[in-house]
């Protein structure tokens, strides 16, 4: 129940920072059906038809945490340049989906191809193209901000200028550069991790609650960075409960419920301004999923 309250509540709170420019950009995209309730599934993922093929192609993928099938059948296709918002209640499998795409988890069943690499056989091949920001920041606490960003930049041979630009981008360049990470606040750490990600020049960004801990300016910096990266051809997957902000950013929204991403990126909500009715739908679908989970748990 907490998750339901939380997600809808945050959505309302964030409404004021909705970015109007993004609406117009998004609305260029074909508007697909908006689900009226949970079981309404739109048929067409609406591929933005690129010659290079999909960046991510999952077909009925199962991935486990221990013996628990955190992903119980994910089918999804993501093309280059898309910003996809993954939305779903806590425990739906969003984090697992992102980690799977990063090549960190084995594919138990199904087929998964990311950037042309089959995850069943070549998870290592995927990783260098991917930037993953998980719940944890992946920073070295004893090193300074600049050293951390330089480390992640060095993994792709980024130049000093690029690393400086990345730090500038996320607002950790001047005052914070020489501060050890352990002395930073949560938000500052998040910024540092994002700067490291920018320095990595990834072609596929996988972000798990990237807005968490960031202040208003940090969020604006992040959104601008993501838009710029997407415009430059990067593909971005964001899992977020900050619906307003993420929806304004996303070119597509994908629902994740009980470990499933259904039918090639279904439950597709596109572009338009997040109206009152839609929020109600979101909240109710989330609540429905929550109640189902509770129901199952009590049975188990």
């Amino acid at each position: 129940m907490h998750s339901c309250v939380e997600s809808s509540g945050v959505g309302i709170a964030q409404k004021s920072v909705f970015d109007p420019i993004e609406v117009s950009r998004n609305s260029v995209q074909p508007v697909a059906a908006i689900g009226n309730d949970d079981d309404d599934v739109s048929s067409d993922p609406g591929p933005t038809a690129t010659s290079s093929g999909p960046v991510i192609e999952l077909v009925d993928v199962v991935a486990t945490l221990g013996q628990f099938p955190a992903l119980s059948g994910a089918t999804m296709r993501v093309d280059a340049g898309e910003i996809v918002l993954l939305r779903g209640p806590n425990g739906a499998g969003k984090t697992t989906l992102l980690r799977l795409c990063a090549g960190l988890l084995p594919v138990v069943r199904g087929n998964a191809t990311v950037m042309g690499h089959d995850l069943a056989t070549d998870r290592e091949g995927v990783r260098p193209h991917v930037g993953l920001l998980g719940h944890q920041n992946g920073l070295f606490a004893d090193l300074t901000v600049a050293e951390n960003v330089r480390f992640w930049g060095a993994t792709v041979g980024a130049s000093t200028e690029e690393i400086g630009a990345a730090m500038e981008r996320m607002g950790v360049a001047d005052r914070l550069a020489d501060v050890p990470v352990r002395k930073l606040s949560a938000g500052q750490k998040r910024r540092t991790a994002l700067a490291g990600l920018v320095a990595r020049r990834a072609r596929l960004w996988l972000l798990d609650e990237p807005h968490s801990g960031l202040d208003q300016r940090g969020r604006d910096d992040l959104d601008a960075t993501l838009r710029q990266a997407a415009a430059a051809g990067a593909t971005i997957l964001v899992a977020s409960h900050e619906l307003d902000r993420a929806e304004s950013l996303a070119t597509r929204i994908v629902g994740v419920v009980a470990g499933q991403v259904t039918a090639g990126g279904t439950r597709l909500l596109r572009g338009a301004s997040p109206g009152c009715s839609r929020r109600r739908i979101c909240a109710s679908s989330v609540a429905a999923a929550c109640s189902r989970i509770r129901c199952c748990r009590s049975q188990a």
Binding site: G66, R292, C296
Partner: protein
């Protein structure tokens, strides 16, 4: 929730269908092992003479030697199976289960060797434990493979289990030469290995030697019998895990309200 019930019964019936790990072959080997063990008892306790110096306590040798032989064999088989898992393209879990089962048996038999050895030591040396090289390194072998078994029980997928334990299985087996030649390396008071030595007939009496051979055969048969059953049980455990995953998957899918 109704969708779950058929799955559950189906799984239960399949488990019932393959309830036994015994086959004709295992039964034959089992009977052969029992017969060989009876022979061993006869030879060890009745036919073979008491030792001039050690008296009847020498009869412990007929357990002591075969158990350490089986332990060596187990760890070597385990290492080979570990290598096969790691270095073959298929990464078959069958090899992993073979390594695991063999190590379990090895741990039991090293434990037996140590216990019997300590009793024997009490009778001949007057103390249970001597800090000599053979005993020390054998004890080391024992704890190393206990660590191996602990690693097998860590959380994770079957292949994770296989990878981790295979690495330890391959490194752990390097202790074997150290154990076997420890006496020579340390020049200590433990008697030289008798059975794997080249000049064995010169050292021990014919019927004693034959009794030891009977012991080796009996315990080797026991090892094979245990291996067959244990690997099959392990295969069923893995199967059960997979079934559990199927169930959990069905449950989670039902939870999502799709399919």
């Amino acid at each position: 929730m109704t969708t779950l019930e058929p799955n559950r019964t189906a799984t239960a019936s399949e488990v019932v269908a393959t309830r036994s790990t015994g086959t004709k072959a295992t039964r034959a080997i089992g009977i052969a092992a029992v017969v060989a063990m009876t022979w061993l008892l006869l030879f060890a306790l009745v036919f073979s003479p008491a030792d001039v110096n050690q008296g009847d306590s020498v009869r412990l040798m007929y357990i002591h030697l075969p158990t350490i032989w089986v332990a060596y064999l187990s760890f070597i088989v385990s290492a080979i199976a570990s290598g096969m898992y790691l270095f073959t393209k298929k990464h078959s879990l069958g090899w992993d289960r073979m390594a695991g089962a063999s190590s379990e048996i090895g741990v039991i038999f090293v434990g037996l060797t140590l216990i019997v050895g300590m009793l024997w030591g009490r009778l001949t040396w007057g103390v249970f434990w001597q800090w000599d090289a053979r005993l020390t390194t054998t004890a080391l072998l024992f704890v190393t493979y206990i660590g191996y078994l602990a690693v097998r029980r860590l959380d994770g997928s079957h292949h994770q289990r296989a990878k981790r334990s295979a690495v330890i299985g391959l490194l752990g087996v390097l202790l074997l030469p150290l154990v076997h030649w420890s006496v020579r390396i340390w020049r200590s008071l433990h008697q030289e290995a008798t059975i794997l030595n080249t000049d064995l007939d010169a050292e021990i009496d014919g019927i004693m030697f034959f009794s030891i051979l009977v012991g080796l055969v009996a315990f080797s048969l026991l090892y094979v019998w245990l291996m067959l059953h244990r690997t099959r049980v392990m295969a069923m455990e893995d199967l059960l895990d997979d079934r559990g995953l199927d169930l959990a998957l069905a449950e989670r899918r039902a939870e999502g309200g799709v399919r």
